[in-house]
Amino acid sequence: MYYPEPITKLIDSFTKLPGIGPKTAARLAFFVLEMKEDDVLDFAKSLVNAKRELTHCTVCGHITDQDPCSICSDQSRDNSVICVVQDPKDVIAMEKMKDFQGKYHVLHGTISPMEGIGPEDINVSTLIERLKDEKVEELILATNPNVEGEATAMYISRLVKPSGLRLTRIAHGLPVGGDLEYADEVTLSKALEGRRDL
């Protein structure tokens, strides 16, 4: 590289972000040079603050700036249902729906022995503790419908089953507004498997 050191460093920092290659990083870095100093300071502060002030909620594991998080401390929410998800982004997706009034538990990943991720590496033990303390009636397992997500859901269900609370798994099958004729065979067979009485 023939750039002065400060900009080389900036480019290197941008390349560390997902989905950004060297060319995009260079474009972003040069754009930053053109920005107003105040805006750049704000930007830098937001980066540092996001990292410093955000922690994981000690109850559910969701990202938050106060502990426990706003969802966990919300008195109006239903304490009897916990929805278990893989990722903080999944909580946000669920919240956008504005339909779910229960609480969440974020696992931060799925069990994958191949990658060396065992049950102790995801946020399961706190979930088990929660089930002892709180008066939970239903656990919704909302991990992704792939091999690892399914395995993780099955693992949790095996741990929790003896306690006798209601365990549910989110449905998978046809997308809303989709056409039957365009669905692949696997999705169709899953949809048929999960059919319900009318």
């Binding site: 994958s112 022995p113 065992g118 049950p119 091999v147 395995a151 693992y155 692949d184 065979e185 067979s189």
Partner: protein
Amino acid sequence: MYIKEISVENYRNYDELSLQFDNQINVIIGENAQGKTNLMEAIYVLAFTKSHRTAKDKELIKWDSNYAKIKGDVFKRNRSFPLEVIFSQKGKKAKFNHIEQKRLSDYIGALNVVMFAPEHLNLVKGSPQERRKFIDMEIGQIQPVYIYHLGQYQKILKQRNALLKDLQRQKQTDRTMLKVLTEQLIEHGSIVLKKRLQFLQKLREWATPIHDGISRGLEALTIDYEGSINVSEDTDLERIIETYTSYYDSIEDREVERGTTLAGPHRDDLIFYVNNRNVQTYGSQGQQRTTALSLKLAEIELIDQEVGEYPILLLDDVLSELDAHRQSHLLNTIQGKVQTFVTTTSVDGIHHETLKDAQIFNIHNGQLLSER
């Protein structure tokens, strides 16, 4: 079904080449190392999106290029459609009717191909892995959903083996996760097993009379599936699941001790018998070849039965490996109904009237010299 035209770009030793085919017999003639087999491979790749010779897709790209493209026009069920497979440094894309198909199982099956190459003569005496590959490929092109279950099975198998290694080294002691993975493995493994058994039953129905014909009634062929559990094609799926479940329970300690999965479709095998004797151990080379030929011919008939049209047959350097009797049996069977591609260094060794009307392509150093 037949292929009307194929064109390749930056593929193996070809810069650019486009060939129009006869819907009957096409013969590709050339010296060694001129690219005959590469053309056969191109047709195979168009059907399966991967080579029969290598697992590394990058080998298909011409050495000085960064992508390879194979396109074909296929006529099937009274309509024609284009297929396209593109390989680049980023991976591969498969297009059916100009539209990219994200799932392999949505693409495979559009073009049905049966390949018969010298290595298939070893199907009987080769490794169990080759026989499993044979059965997996054939079921996959008839029932694409099989590919999905097989893929899931292999993914879970890797996870399970990794966990068994951890348990063996006592990096992990809790077996709950093992139970989960076993349950998942059985879910897909049972479907794989059931579909294999059903396929084999149909294949047997075709292969036995064909073998009888080639051997002039002297040899009776039977095919058995050798699996970890004792079930038959009539066993229903639930029973297979139950049987697997209790079997895995019984070997769990041994699996932990060995640190790997000891049962399942990935360890099963096919056994061939001629006149009640195991061909692999006791059969002559001739019997082994006849068995391989019977299987390939049975496959062609089975695809016709399941798909409603004959597949395309690729005979890569294999005609010269068969004696005159087996040659003519093969050529008589396909005559007039199966579009066939034959590669050979010369037509001298092949005496059969079917080749007289064939379209002949002369290939030299990645280029078409002449066409007749």
